[in-house]
Symmetry: C2
Subunit: 274 residues, 2 copies
Amino acid sequence: MCELLGMNTRQPAAITFSFRGFAKRGGETGHHRDGWGIAFYEETGCRVFLDDLPACSSPLAAWVQNYPIKSRIVMAHIRKATQGAAGLANCHPFQREWQRKAWTFIHNGNLTGYAPLLDGTYRPIGQTDSELAFCALLQHLRERFPNDGMPDAIELAQAIHEAATGIAHFGNFNFLLSQGDLLFAYCTSKLHFVQRRAPFDRAQLVDEDVSIDLREINDHDDCMAIVATAPLTRNESWQKFEAGTLKLFEAGELRWQSSVKPVPYFAPAVDPSQ
Amino acid sequence: MCELLGMNTRQPAAITFSFRGFAKRGGETGHHRDGWGIAFYEETGCRVFLDDLPACSSPLAAWVQNYPIKSRIVMAHIRKATQGAAGLANCHPFQREWQRKAWTFIHNGNLTGYAPLLDGTYRPIGQTDSELAFCALLQHLRERFPNDGMPDAIELAQAIHEAATGIAHFGNFNFLLSQGDLLFAYCTSKLHFVQRRAPFDRAQLVDEDVSIDLREINDHDDCMAIVATAPLTRNESWQKFEAGTLKLFEAGELRWQSSVKPVPYFAPAVDPSQ
């Protein structure tokens, strides 16, 4: 399966990730060989790094993991292709503009028989169910909030939850979505989160596979939320998302959540990504 | 002023750029300190690297210039801010989807009093006149070609030329635009191009400031077009674009061009970028 990792901090923080470890998660080496990507929301804008090489052997991943970038929101994805060939156009995060913001999206799961009616405002460039769902989701938000200006965060979360619940009829749909200030996390099958406060330590977060250096965080009064497919540490109280839950994180804290159990249209399909 | 550099080759070629040199062009060191960016159209998709650090001291630029990426079209930009602060959101290339393709855009010049009526399909994320013009340009193409499917290349070039001529009323508008197969280059004041064929050599392309290693090109039957704000070599016949000219490059060759002298709305303004 794909792996999702998201982080939201109160203050922009220079955090380095170990992609080498992240890529090894969830299976033996080679399990997530179909590319990776990461979005950083920095003070002055958003940038996305993509690569179709396996994260464990990607020179770009090696560069990113050694270069601390100050961000409030980071979203990383390691890809194991289910729909859409390996290739840059199918690597997450996907990126689109809405309300003068750069929205990015990463997905874990597999949607079967999903064919939303797109009005053409957003169309997928690649061949994944994930980018298709992202386009449909943003189209839903445009229809729901046709006026210029970013809607209220809670109203936005409710609208995203509504759209996500509909899409979740078609299969496993765990995703992270952001526009730079807010981190939306939705789960149908597998997602966990933890909230942490200073003082931070590297040791507390290390497991065999993944390390995130939190000592580089700037502000000792900072706090942060981490969302990941599977818990990253053994000594913390990671909370599992209930199926059908959307959580909104802002300024490093859980601000709002809601649950609606998704109803599959079909008998539960065998999802090759799970 | 900003510097533009574009390249179109028949076969995907692994070409390395010297950003260090590119950043020094057009003035003394420090003249283009407001960031840089580059778009690579590779076999499996498009990716854009952005940085708000000066290209000459950017660790990411150092990485990019040492890592050969096989592409058919490359577009690079070094920024000297005229409108919009320094920052990632104002770095070129800008990127948007249309007709299921990733379009990218880089601009040199300065538009004064330019305030197009945007219907909301595309809105700028940053504060530059450049991104605003890019949004208006894509909106024009959507209106002109409302149906699904990429239009014929020449019709597309004509429509882009029409829109560009309108925008050029507001100031200097030299730009490169691509969707991965076609490279559109428009000039109101300063742009040059050269066409080259194998055998390629590094030496032939070196001047004091910029080097592009063409020996890494794969196919000895390949050909390529290079477009740049100023000629990159002294020993070749670079051709200056006439003001108001749009050129379409495809598969490494000039395929189509047209000229319409732009008429300024106002008395020629003093352009701080020139």
